[in-house]
């Protein structure tokens, strides 16, 4: 029900596994996590959204904010998502054109920038 956040390194990518609900209440935690990772020099992020059960526009804003931060360092932010409802939200908001979206973490990690 709450937000869970875990991260690990795969090659030169940092995979952030997000679970639970990203809403106006929990989004600040995700924002902080992304800021911390970028501050620590992780500029190539893969955000795994497969265990996300809720995502509102505040959450979208945090993801866009993360993207801007890695881009400032020539980095990348890729999403892993196959959930139809979430894909729909990215589509509605035009963000499918902004984020590379992958069907698995392996695919995202293997993708070249």
């Amino acid at each position: 029900m709450d937000l869970s956040l875990e991260d690990r390194t795969e090659g030169d990518r940092t995979v952030v596994v997000v679970g639970g609900e990203i809403d106006v209440y929990t989004a600040p935690k995700l924002r902080e996590k992304l800021i911390d990772l970028v501050s620590a020099g992780n500029y190539h992020l893969v955000v795994d959204m497969e265990a996300v059960e809720f995502l509102d526009s505040t959450g979208l804003g945090v993801l866009v904010g993360g993207l801007k931060r890695v881009r400032a360092h020539e980095g990348s932010l890729r999403l892993v998502c196959t959930q139809e409802r979430i894909l729909k939200i990215f589509r509605i908001t035009g963000l499918t054109k902004v984020f590379p979206i992958h069907a698995s973490v392996d695919e995202a990690v293997a993708a070249s920038d």
Binding site: E21, D23, V24, Y25, R31, F54, D56, S57, T58, L60, G61, V62, V64, G65, R85, K88, I89, R91, I92, T93, G94, L95, K97, V98
Partner: protein, 140 residues
């Protein structure tokens, strides 16, 4: 006619309370699981938007959430007293993500995409988002 009205001071955690109440009402009303989830999602989005607007512009005014069940279906209204932005439009949505704050229009776009039966109207001092779902006939 079963109605629940929630008045929430604009704190982020109240958005979860609203989802909780909406989901409980929807389940009880017999809305199919898939639509319960749609309601949870849309109600959460509408409340996120309203709570953020109030927190910025009307911190002492509660956000109102109405859940009404009648013979025609389940109606959810989220009533805010925030500034009335321009309608969502389908222009350059990407430009709406400026800074870390999300333009409330993103929220309306998401809502429009999630729910078929939606009405967004300017009301006294703010905006009302009305969402509706038909209910399956019941044997009661």
């Amino acid at each position: 006619m079963a109605t629940v009205e929630l008045q929430l001071s604009p704190q982020p955690h109240h958005v979860r309370t609203a989802r909780l109440v909406g989901v409980a009402a929807a389940r009880r009303a017999g809305l199919p699981d898939e639509l319960v989830d749609e309601l949870r999602w849309a109600l959460g989005e509408a409340c996120s938007r309203a709570v953020a607007l109030h927190a910025a512009h009307a911190p002492d005014v509660p956000v109102r959430v109405l859940v009404r069940e009648d013979s025609t279906g389940l109606t959810v209204e989220v009533i805010d007293q925030g500034p009335q932005g321009p309608p969502s439009g389908d222009g350059d949505l990407e430009a709406l993500f400026e800074g870390d704050e999300v333009d409330p229009r993103v929220s309306l776009a998401v809502l429009g995409g999630l729910v078929d039966d939606i009405d967004i109207t300017a009301t006294a001092g703010g905006t009302t988002v009305r969402l509706r779902w038909p209910l399956p006939p019941r044997s009661v």
